[in-house]
C-alpha cells in the first residue's frame, strides 16, 4: 500500500515537473538600486497588430492579432485568419484580466484563452514591475525585479543591460519557470516583437509587429 502511494506521489511529481520549465535561482539584492522608471516600452501605441506564430504540440498555426487601447475600457483584442475570419475577440481591463466576448475557434476553453493568448498579445503594454516589486539578481548577475504573488508564485522582470527596460518576463511556480517571455529588442517591443514559451499549458509563440499604416 505504501509502495503504491509512493509510486503515485512520484508520478504526480513527475507530471508537475513535466509541466514546468527549468529552475530559476535568484537572490535579493543586498542594496536595492535606485534606478526608476522601468518599463517594457517607452510609449505604447494606441493600436498594435501582431503576426503570431503559435506552436501547440506538433501543430503550428499563424494568424493576426489586433490590439486597440481604450482609455475607458482597457483593451480590445481580436484574432483573425488570412481570409478575414474572426478567431476570437476579447476585452481586457487595464491590468490585463481578460474575458472572451465573441467566438473562440482556437478549440481551447475561453478562460484558458483569456489568460494565455490574449495576455501574450498585451504583454508589451503591461510588462512593467509594480512599485512594490523587490530588487534582486539572477545567478548570471542580471538585475531583476520580483513581484511575489503568493507563497508559491512570483513574476520576475529581468532588466536589460541599460537597467531601465525589461528584457525578459517570467512567471514562476515555486522555483520553476511556468512562463517565459523574451523581448527581441528590449525597450522597443512594438518594433522588435516578443517570443513566449508557456509550460502549462504548453505552447510557444512568436509575436512579430505588423506595420498597418494606422
Amino acid at each position: 500500500m505504501r509502495a503504491a502511494r509512493t509510486f503515485s506521489a512520484l508520478l504526480a511529481l513527475l507530471f508537475i515537473a513535466g509541466c514546468l520549465g527549468g529552475r530559476l535561482e535568484y537572490a535579493p539584492a543586498a542594496r536595492p538600486d535606485t534606478k526608476s522608471g522601468i518599463s517594457a516600452c517607452g510609449d505604447p501605441p494606441q493600436r498594435q497588430a501582431w503576426r503570431v506564430r503559435l506552436r501547440r504540440g506538433r501543430q503550428d498555426s499563424v494568424f493576426t492579432v489586433l490590439v486597440e487601447r481604450d482609455v475607458q475600457s482597457g483593451f480590445g483584442v481580436a484574432a483573425l485568419n488570412d481570409v478575414g475570419g474572426t478567431l476570437f475577440q476579447a476585452s481586457a481591463a487595464g491590468d490585463g484580466s481578460a474575458v472572451v466576448i465573441q467566438r473562440n475557434l482556437l478549440r481551447i476553453p475561453d478562460s484558458v484563452l483569456a489568460r494565455t493568448f490574449v495576455q501574450d498579445a498585451l504583454l508589451p503594454f503591461l510588462a512593467h514591475p509594480p512599485e512594490t516589486a523587490s530588487a534582486g539578481f539572477l545567478e548570471n548577475g542580471r538585475s531583476i525585479r520580483v513581484n511575489r504573488l503568493s507563497r508559491n508564485r512570483a513574476s520576475i522582470y529581468v532588466l536589460s543591460d541599460s537597467g531601465n527596460t525589461i528584457a525578459e518576463f517570467l512567471r514562476l511556480r515555486g522555483h520553476h519557470i511556468a512562463y517565459h517571455a523574451r523581448f527581441n529588442t528590449p525597450g522597443q517591443p512594438f518594433e522588435g516583437g516578443h517570443e513566449i514559451i508557456s509550460y502549462s499549458p504548453r505552447y510557444a509563440a512568436a509575436y512579430r509587429p505588423l506595420d498597418t499604416g494606422q
Binding site: R53, A78, Q89, S91, T212
Partner: protein, 247 residues
C-alpha cells in the same frame, strides 16, 4: 439695369452658398442613416442574370485578381486593412496570397495544400493541416469570381437586387441555422454591363462585423505558369506587370 444685374448675381451667389451649406450639413446626416436593402428581383429575372454572369465569367479560363481587404470589427475603432492576390485555374489550382501588411501564401493544387509565410525576407513552410477551412472559403471565392452561383443553392438562398449606377448585388444567405451562427450573409457586388465585373465580396458576421474584399484589378485567361501554384516566390509581380503593359 447694371445695378439690378449685380444684385441678382449676389442673390444667386447667396442662394448657391446657402444650398452648398445645406448640402454639406445634410449629406452626413443622410449618410448615417442605414440604407434600406433594395428589393430583390423576381426569381426568373434573377435566374436570367446569374446565367448571364456565368456565361460571361465561367468556363475554364484562368483568373488572377488583386484585392484590398478590410476587416471591420464593431469592437475596434478602425478596420484592419490588407492587400492580396488570388489566382485560380479551373478545376483545382488555387493561390491565395496576402502581400501587405505581411507576406503569406496558400497554395492548393489538386488536393495538396501548402502554406508559406515570409519571415525576415525568407519563405518558411507552415503546417497546412489547420487551413482546410480557408481553402474551402477560397474555393468559394473563386467560384463566385467565375459567376458560379447555381451550385450554391444547397447552402445559400441566392437573391439578386439592383444597386446604384447599374450595379447589381448578389446576396447569399445561409440556409442552415448552424452556418448562420458564423455567417449572416455574403454580398457580391457586380459591376455594370457589359463587363459585369465582380467588384467586391462582403462577408457579414452576426453582430455587425464584416470583411470586405474589393477587387481592384483582374486578369482572365492568363497563361499562369505551374510555379504560381507550386512555389511561394513565383514571379507573379513581373507576370502581372507585363500583362498590365499590354494594350
Amino acid at each position: 439695369m447694371q445695378r439690378l444685374s449685380t444684385e441678382s448675381r449676389m442673390l444667386a451667389a447667396c442662394v448657391a452658398v446657402f444650398s452648398l451649406l445645406l448640402f454639406i450639413c445634410l449629406v452626413p446626416a443622410f449618410a448615417e442613416d442605414p440604407k434600406p436593402e433594395a428589393e430583390a428581383w423576381p426569381k426568373e429575372q434573377a435566374g436570367k442574370f446569374l446565367a448571364e454572369l456565368e456565361a460571361r465569367h465561367g468556363g475554364d479560363k484562368s483568373l488572377a485578381a488583386v484585392f484590398d481587404q478590410e476587416k471591420h470589427l464593431k469592437m475596434l475603432k478602425a478596420p484592419l486593412a490588407a492587400k492580396g492576390r488570388i489566382c485560380f485555374v479551373p478545376p483545382g489550382r488555387l493561390r491565395f496570397e496576402i502581400t501587405q501588411p505581411f507576406a503569406s501564401v496558400l497554395l492548393y493544387s489538386t488536393g495538396d495544400i501548402r502554406r508559406f509565410e515570409q519571415e525576415n525576407g525568407k519563405w518558411k513552410t507552415l503546417d497546412a493541416r489547420a487551413v482546410r477551412v480557408m481553402v474551402l472559403v477560397m474555393e468559394q471565392i473563386s467560384h463566385w469570381m467565375q459567376g458560379k452561383f447555381q451550385e450554391q443553392s444547397q447552402v445559400f438562398d441566392t437573391t439578386v437586387a439592383p444597386a446604384p449606377e447599374q450595379r447589381v448585388t448578389v446576396r447569399l444567405r445561409p440556409k442552415h441555422e448552424r452556418f448562420r451562427e458564423f455567417i449572416e450573409g455574403i454580398d457580391i457586388a457586380v459591376g455594370p454591363p457589359p463587363e459585369l465585373r465582380i467588384q467586391a465580396i462582403t462577408v457579414r458576421e452576426p453582430g455587425g462585423d464584416y470583411t470586405e474584399m474589393r477587387f481592384t484589378r483582374e486578369w482572365r485567361g492568363l497563361a499562369l505558369p505551374d510555379s504560381v501554384f507550386e512555389v511561394p516566390d513565383a514571379p507573379l509581380d513581373a507576370l502581372l506587370a507585363d500583362e498590365g503593359k499590354k494594350p
